[in-house]
Amino acid sequence: MEELWRAVVKAFELIVSLDAEVIDITGRSLLISATSCIIACAVCFPLAGIIHFSSFPGKRLFISVVQTLYSLPTVLVGLFIFVLLSRSGPLGGLGLLFTPLAMVMGQAIFLCPIVLGLGISALRAVDTAIYDVAMALGANRVQATLQVMKESRYALAMTAMMGFGRAISEVGLSLMVGGNIKGFTRTLTTAISLETSRGNLEFAIALGIILLLLALMVNMIVGWLQQR
């Protein structure tokens, strides 16, 4: 028990003293997760608009498949990216395996179902009259869709934050395609997993506290957005 207490105190010391390695890992985590989240949103929000405002056979089936993929296991995405980027894989020549870029790719794919599904829900929550009125005032379909997106901007921002929260806290994928290389692909979650298994508890706890604080921040932003 005393040992644990000492570890916690040490962990706080690491954070307060702005330990170089802690800062480095935190920064990398934020950068990778933010990038993958932005990519996922940039692809999926317009897609959500197109899907929501068009009717095609199998639309409902498609949406329920997307919703099922909310619980897509990270290791499966990891496996997919690994096969894709491994030396003998179709994109093996690019030499991307075990790079931050591979992690971004994996996380972006992992986030797509959530961002797309919640994005469609966000647009669905907007009064249908908004689209109608926009068309009635001479908007084209793109302009009317953009107007609906503007009306749901808080819900969409919330979706993005939730995606970011998912990305920064996942570990399986980062470990598999990033490789947890120190100073290169090591992130908060992969570092915690490694340091814990090495018995370096104070370092793991310090990173854990930072991860929790980040999660708390994301949550607070989501809560604030919800009230808008």
Partner: protein, 359 residues
């Protein structure tokens, strides 16, 4: 000059017919009111005419050009019109943002947009509201903003769907005043749907009556109110005396119509033996205590069944062999001394009777 022409428009929603062959011409610069009960197809017809939706069958011509099927042409023409939907919603943002939308979507220059928005705000008397969050407005103000949003485009054609249906009388009057002002100022073509036939009469030059997806009558408001084409139209425009009868004889279009054994004279081309509805507007009926001299050809003694006050008027139901309803001012009612169960002479001219065929 015909600006918009609809030929045989039909519209089905999931094989349910909403419009059944509507043919209609809208002249440039006129105000046309579509009146009809709820669910008659007014909104659908407006949406088709505004090119927001495509008809299942039939064609729409704009300035003589068939715009039914070319998507590009439809969009181009749609941008020259604007539509105020029945359920108005405001976009998030300020009142000025809302009004500017239509112009921004048309890619107008920023300076021009702000000038136009300012002048429209002034016209609707809401200049001081320009920077207010549009979602904090009252229902009446919201409707004015919705109207301004459509007017700022300076459309060639303005479509209005029940512009005052959800408003209190004061707000409704304000909306009507703004509308009237704009119509006069811009010489716009306006097509408005309303179930309030009096509003139709106040604002429109011509009225089209639509019921059950069919256009039953189109004409000047006087024509619709005094000479409804069918019994349904007569009922809808509030004619209360619709009497079933049979033409006895017709002598140079002065016909005698038998109504439950009582002979009534009317001007009509209907031939003897034809089954008809004889329609008499309550305002055209005069009452007298004694049978004096009158030029009216129809004079009947009757017994007063019921007397009811409606605002400044008194409605009197008389049984003169057939039921007849008339209205009087309170003052005249007192002068004549109408009371329930009392006897009275009712009279109306042969020209006051409008006769339509009955199957």
């Amino acid at each position: 000059m015909t600006l918009i022409e609809a030929r045989g428009l039909e519209k089905y929603y999931q094989s349910r017919p909403v419009l059944k062959g509507v043919t209609l011409q809208i002249n440039s610069g006129e105000v046309l009111a579509l009146i009809g009960p709820r669910g008659a197809g007014k909104t659908t017809l407006l949406r088709l005419l505004d090119l927001l939706e495509s008809p299942s069958r039939g064609e729409i011509y704009f300035n003589g050009v068939n715009v039914t099927s070319s998507e590009r042409l439809r969009f181009f023409v749609r941008r020259r019109m604007s539509f105020v939907t029945q359920r108005t919603v405001v976009f998030s943002g300020t009142v000025a943002d809302n009004i500017a939308c239509g112009l921004k979507w048309r890619g107008e220059r920023w300076q021009m947009v702000s000038d136009r928005v300012e002048s429209v705000l002034e016209l609707i008397g809401m200049s001081q509201y320009a920077n207010r969050d549009a979602r904090t407005l009252s229902v009446g103000e919201t409707q004015l903003v919705a109207l301004a949003r459509a007017l700022v485009i300076e459309p060639e054609v303005l479509f209005l769907d029940e512009p005052t249906a959800n408003l209190d009388p004061v707000s409704a009057a304000r909306v009507e005043a703004v509308l009237t002002q704009f119509i006069r100022l811009r010489n716009m073509t306006v097509v408005m749907a309303t179930h309030d036939m009096l509003q139709g009469q106040r604002l429109a030059g011509r009225i089209a009556v639509i019921m059950g997806g069919q256009l039953l009558q189109v004409g000047e408001s006087r024509q619709i109110f005094c000479a409804p084409a069918t019994k349904e139209v007569a009922e809808f425009v509030g004619v209360e005396n619709i009497l079933p009868g049979k033409v006895d004889s017709n002598n140079g279009s002065l016909a005698v119509i038998d109504i439950e054994g009582i002979k009534l004279e009317a001007i009509t081309a209907c031939k003897p033996g034809e089954l008809v509805w004889a329609i008499v507007r309550p305002e055209d009926i005069t009452f007298a205590k004694v049978r004096g001299y009158t030029s009216a050809r129809n004079v009947f003694p009757g017994r007063i069944q019921r007397v009811a006050s409606v605002g400044a008027l008194v409605r009197i139901e008389v049984d003169c062999g057939f039921p007849l309803l008339g209205v009087l001012t309170k003052r005249s009612a007192e002068d004549i001394g109408v009371e329930q169960g009392g006897e009275v002479y009712v009279s109306f001219k042969a020209t006051a009777v409008h006769v339509i065929g009955r199957q």
